[in-house]
């Protein structure tokens, strides 16, 4: 990542401290990656681990600039945590469509990745959230540890920081 992770240091060294030298792309990516607001999408047991335990003070999502929002209009990221049934799948799609670009999806747990324990002999569970919406990061586990949820968010930050402004502009058309 180079310069981008050292930004505060450069700010200090410029006389006066109020000026930052960087490219627009890096600056925008840095600010976007540092304030990922995620939408609560707890569907089953994974929601307890991934959204509540990780969001609470012990694992503390807030230090990455992640704050939960209850509305898709204010969210950048959707963490699909839990068992996705066919009935819920339609609602997930609607909410995903309502999120403003650029938007990201983390698929959390075996259930959201590929149906998990409900892969065989289940009439009601969708076998993978990526069948209806694009997924950026998959977290394995049943349920994943809060640490792995944090790791997934860091991975997503890496991904955002590598984005090109031109691609981003094209995707919002």
């Amino acid at each position: 990542m180079g310069i981008i992770s050292k930004l505060p240091a450069y700010v200090e060294r410029v006389p006066g401290g109020g000026i930052m030298t960087t490219s627009a792309e890096k600056f925008l990516n840095w600010s976007r990656a540092s304030s990922i607001w995620y939408m609560l999408f707890g569907l089953a047991c994974c929601a307890i681990e991934g959204l509540m335990a990780t969001g609470a003070s012990r694992y503390d999502f807030d230090r990455f600039g992640m704050i939960f929002r209850a509305s898709p209009r204010q969210a950048d990221l959707m963490i699909v945590a839990g068992t996705l049934t066919h009935k819920m799948a339609k609602r997930v799609k609607i909410l995903y469509d309502q999120m403003a670009e650029p938007k990201y999806v983390i698929s959390m747990g075996g259930c959201a990745n590929r149906g998990g324990p409900f892969y065989y002999d289940s009439y009601s569970v969708l076998k993978g959230v990526d069948k209806i919406i694009p997924v950026d990061v998959y977290i394995p586990g049943c349920p994943p540890r809060p640490e792995s949820v944090l790791e997934a968010c860091l991975k997503l930050q890496d991904k955002i920081k590598k984005e090109k402004l031109a691609d981003w502009a094209a995707s919002t058309d």
Binding site: T85, H86, K87, K90, Y119, Y120, D121, S122, Y123, S124, L126, K127
Partner: protein
């Protein structure tokens, strides 16, 4: 009343309606004809000796291959006497047909949701049901009943034999 006493009382009182009875797993169990399903439910609720005011479980089993139909099973509970009764009936059905039976939701309002679930999972039609919509499955399931044996559809994946 304990299970034996309860079973003895019920089989004597309603002997013309009961086709089979016994104690299964400590619970008094009776089997009735589908035509008597609603009337015996009313009697059991109103009878001051039994007082079954509550339904603790209500569902169906697909016995088309073994017995030639769907078996409806309802477990009744009495708060007053703290006793339980399982009541069964066999609805004859072949192939993909949807058998019909009278609803119990007029006797026990709680039976309403149980019947909606049984209806959508097994394709049993409850005649006179006040609200025969889907309960659990999504809106576009039509003519498909996932708890029937041998059903496969959507992205159903059967577990391979080990």
């Amino acid at each position: 009343m304990d299970s034996e006493g309860l079973l003895k009382y019920i089989t004597e009182e309603y002997k013309d309606k009961i086709i089979d009875s016994g104690i299964v797993g400590g619970v008094a169990t009776i089997e009735v004809k589908p035509g008597d399903w609603e009337s015996i439910a009313e009697y059991l609720k109103g009878d001051m000796e039994t007082r079954f005011l509550s339904v603790s479980n209500y569902g169906a089993v697909d016995y088309r291959e073994k017995l030639g139909g769907y078996q409806l099973v309802i477990t009744l509970f009495s708060y007053e006497f703290n006793h339980k009764l399982t009541m069964k009936t066999l609805l004859p059905a072949e192939g993909e047909e949807c058998p019909e039976i009278k609803t119990l939701s007029a006797v026990w309002p709680v039976a309403d949701w149980f019947e909606r679930e049984t209806a959508e999972l097994f394709g049993i039609v409850f005649v006179g049901h006040p609200d025969p919509r889907h309960l659990m499955l999504d809106e576009d399931w039509d003519g498909e009943y996932p708890m029937r044996r041998g059903w496969s559809g959507r992205d159903f994946i059967t577990k391979p034999d080990k």
